[in-house]
Symmetry: C2
Subunit: 220 residues, 2 copies
Amino acid sequence: MTEFTINERNRVKRGHKRACYDEETVYGILDSHFLCHVAYEVDGQPQIIPTSYWREGNRLYWHGASKSRMIREVTSGKEACVSVAHLDGLVLARSAFNTSANYRSVICYGRPELVTDTAEFDRQMELFFEQLAPGRWSQLRPITGQERKATALVVMEITDAAAKVRDGGPGDGDTEDVDWPVWSGHIPLTTQQRGPVGAPEGVRAALNHRLMPGHDWNNR
Amino acid sequence: MTEFTINERNRVKRGHKRACYDEETVYGILDSHFLCHVAYEVDGQPQIIPTSYWREGNRLYWHGASKSRMIREVTSGKEACVSVAHLDGLVLARSAFNTSANYRSVICYGRPELVTDTAEFDRQMELFFEQLAPGRWSQLRPITGQERKATALVVMEITDAAAKVRDGGPGDGDTEDVDWPVWSGHIPLTTQQRGPVGAPEGVRAALNHRLMPGHDWNNR
């Protein structure tokens, strides 16, 4: 099992028993979401932006408008930090102190760069769509040169990473709190896809198109 | 309607038509989640941590272990940035370029501080629990002095904030793409509470306790 090296930047200090550094866990969590938060710094001010992302190998990708401040700042040679977090449940212990949440979380570190090669840009955008809605890419109105120019693609080699995972019920079942007379347990939270809502205008002929892959939002 | 002042730090530049700066929208989004991301900077390295939070007035609160690196760094007098984001759906347009997501997002800026007053600590922890699971606080095994000491409470006055919201279907219905023969529309995503899972050990007498308030995860 390949593991990320543990160092000062990615070492999980609090709740270190919940930490994982193996690629399988890190990549598994990354591949089960598509909303990440990217943190970067501008003149001493931390900035965060939530954005969609995807992974290929040990690299994270995201995109944005070519003229966006985020794209400019994040590809200016500085270190960035990317977080992906699933909130999987509330853990209701018998005390406030032991009350917790279930989650799967990954933090990745690296130095993002712009992807400037057009063929690689197209390949990555298709890869993004294949993860989002398999089979859809080839059915879309093809991307134009102008759209390509207006879109910036960012790649970040994952230099350091750490995952942190909590699941299951409260941890106070083996403490003296166990007989405290209040219900205890956990409340799972899941993300659900609702039925698709068709656009009111335009061609309806393609309704038998394979819509969505039944993406497993809560995949473990 | 009270609005946050727009300045270089919080001004939404891309997709500015989706931006809102009014307190009602900002507070509404903050109050409909409890997972945030806090970004801060340590020696030029951006760090992010996902954590639970709550709001009172124009202040955000979160807590952590007194000895945690996040608590130490984030209360050392530096600026921080907090993000709260709901992913509400996928927007499948007829082109890759117009494909999008529905979301409700808030970014807040401020300078976090430690809350050191014990009465205020207790009041805030109760407020947190009232938002999480109304009525539960008074039924819990009371917090001890040692637990209070091990827990740090952070407050951040929201100096600047901006919300950004997208909803509805694809925006290409009034472009020449409208007749492109592919299904288009949006797929709503919602967060669901599943049935509670009781802890296997301990007192069961309190099962008729009002469990959870039916927190509206998808509240708009």
